[in-house]
């Protein structure tokens, strides 16, 4: 046996240790007796002579901290990734029924347009889904925009059509999700979305009232915080709500306060919250470049935020998710982003009404040479061909990071590193602390 290249072992407090596998996400606490023993097992890779430590040895094998000598973990990961990326077993449609938005956030990456999806485009989209569902076992839809709740009837009609199509084709129609600013997401809207098969809504709050209202106002400049908070409270009774907090230098210090607010109003236990890095992608938001954190800064500040929350008895922290495939839709064959005019994009951040930036159209199976080149760039992007990614110990939880960022960063050796690259141990210790304190308080 040998130590997995994706196994991390490190000491924490009182002689104890943590062992983590980035290959499968397993995390285990080791007491002060087990920690040195595991250290020795992983370095020497010799099975115990007596039976007393056999259980520990076997647990290391069962959880893939130790692997067979002839196991080539990179090749296994690479083969799995190539296979999954080319599979079309899930037809994933991210649909923007409009690029119009009622908000005027200064960091938004989109160039908004008033275009709404026409009935003819809706029909073409159903026919497009019908053509592609033949290879699939399941259908997945995500509603995006612009602000998708401005087009509720379109969402309802298409969700209904997709339900019929999935049923007729013998494929499962997965629970759907929507990305919304939350301004129109009152209980009535939430109920209609639920009836349409949408179970998860991601809503953004950027801090307490003064901060949020300055960053995420209506087009006319009026604040949106109070109404969104009330909507989250109502909608969380009906849908799963994920609150996203966009973080940059301007609001990092205030971002804790919104979580305190959600806790004090008893909303926090009913929702999920996560921090997201504001990045300056594209011309629409290049003006915010100066206030964006670098990847490394963000990961360190994010760990500090979670530590502060734990110190205040709020037990939440991001945890690495393991995917053995191209886990971004942009590099998966069965994944499409559809604009209101029926153009197809691979990445959400490239979504626009500019056909030149698309990789095709739902109206035709033919592609222009520009579209073909663009599609090919995504298809051929491969973290296993990037030297630093290939040798990275957290490749299974990152898989090269955001493909579009990787393509843009111009570095021939690496993709776009995940925040875990710079703060993995801190985040794992925080997860351990969350787990420990929860046990004490419950």
């Amino acid at each position: 046996m040998k130590q997995s290249r994706y196994c991390f072992l490190f000491g924490i407090e009182d002689g104890k240790g943590l062992v983590f596998s980035s290959a499968n996400g397993a995390l285990a606490e080791l007491d002060s007796e087990s920690y040195p023993q595991v250290k020795s097992f992983l370095s020497e890779c010799l099975p115990p002579k007596s039976g007393s430590n056999l259980e520990l040895w076997n647990a290391l094998i069962d959880n893939a901290f130790l692997v067979e000598d002839n196991t080539n973990e990179i090749v296994i990961l690479e083969t799995g990734s190539q296979l999954e990326r080319s599979k079309k077993s899930t037809l994933s449609l991210t649909i923007a029924p409009t690029l119009a938005c009622n908000f005027g956030c200064d960091y938004c990456f989109e160039n908004h347009s008033a275009t709404h999806m026409s009935k003819a485009t809706e029909e073409a989209l159903v026919l497009f889904a019908e053509r592609h569902i033949k290879d699939a076992k399941s259908l997945q839809t995500t509603w995006f925009g612009g602000e998708p709740t401005l087009c509720l009837p379109t969402i309802e009609r298409l969700q209904s059509e997709f339900t019929v199509l999935a049923d007729r084709s013998g494929v499962s129609f997965d629970p759907s999700s929507i990305i919304t600013n939350g301004y129109l997401l009152n209980s009535k809207m939430a109920m209609r979305l639920k009836h349409a098969g949408i179970v998860l809504a991601q809503v953004t709050l950027d801090g307490p009232k003064e901060v949020h209202d300055a960053r995420r106002p209506l087009k006319n400049g009026r604040g949106t915080f109070d109404r969104i908070l009330e909507n989250i409270s109502q909608a969380s009774e009906i849908l799963s709500i994920a609150v996203r907090i966009n973080v940059d230098r301007d609001n990092i210090d205030a971002s804790i306060q919104i979580i305190e607010d959600l806790k004090n109003r008893d909303i926090l236990p009913h929702i999920n919250v996560h921090f997201a890095q504001v990045t300056a992608s594209g011309s629409a938001c290049s003006s915010v470049r100066d206030r964006c954190f670098s990847d490394q800064e963000f990961s360190q500040r994010q760990a500090l935020l979670y530590k502060t929350l734990i110190d205040r008895d709020i037990y939440m922290v991001d945890y690495p998710q393991v995917f053995s495939g191209g886990h971004c839709g942009a590099v998966s064959e069965g994944s499409f982003v559809i604009s209101p005019t029926g153009d197809i994009f691979k990445c959400w951040e490239e979504l626009s009404v500019d056909s030149e930036k698309s990789t095709g159209s739902i109206l035709t199976d033919t592609m222009t040479s520009t579209q073909r080149d663009k599609a090919k760039r995504y298809k051929s992007w491969d973290p296993f061909e990037l030297k630093e990614c290939r040798s990275c110990e957290i490749l299974p939880v990152c898989m090269g990071g955001c493909p579009v960022q990787g393509l843009q960063n111009g570095d021939p050796d690496k993709g776009a590193c995940s925040p875990f690259k710079y703060s993995l141990k801190e985040m794992l210790v925080l997860r351990y602390l969350c787990n420990q304190r929860k046990e004490v308080t419950t």
């Binding site: 499968n24 285990a28 076992k137 759907s176 009906i238 997201a276 393991v322 495939g325 839709g329 998966s332």
Partner: protein
Amino acid sequence: MKLIEQPQKSNPQKPCPCYKRLFLIIPPGPAK
């Protein structure tokens, strides 16, 4: 050894629609 997090079963057939904007796994089953 006390497992804090169980090994995950990867769900490779369901890619995240966007790497950056939706770091979420859609929960199975009906909404709560």
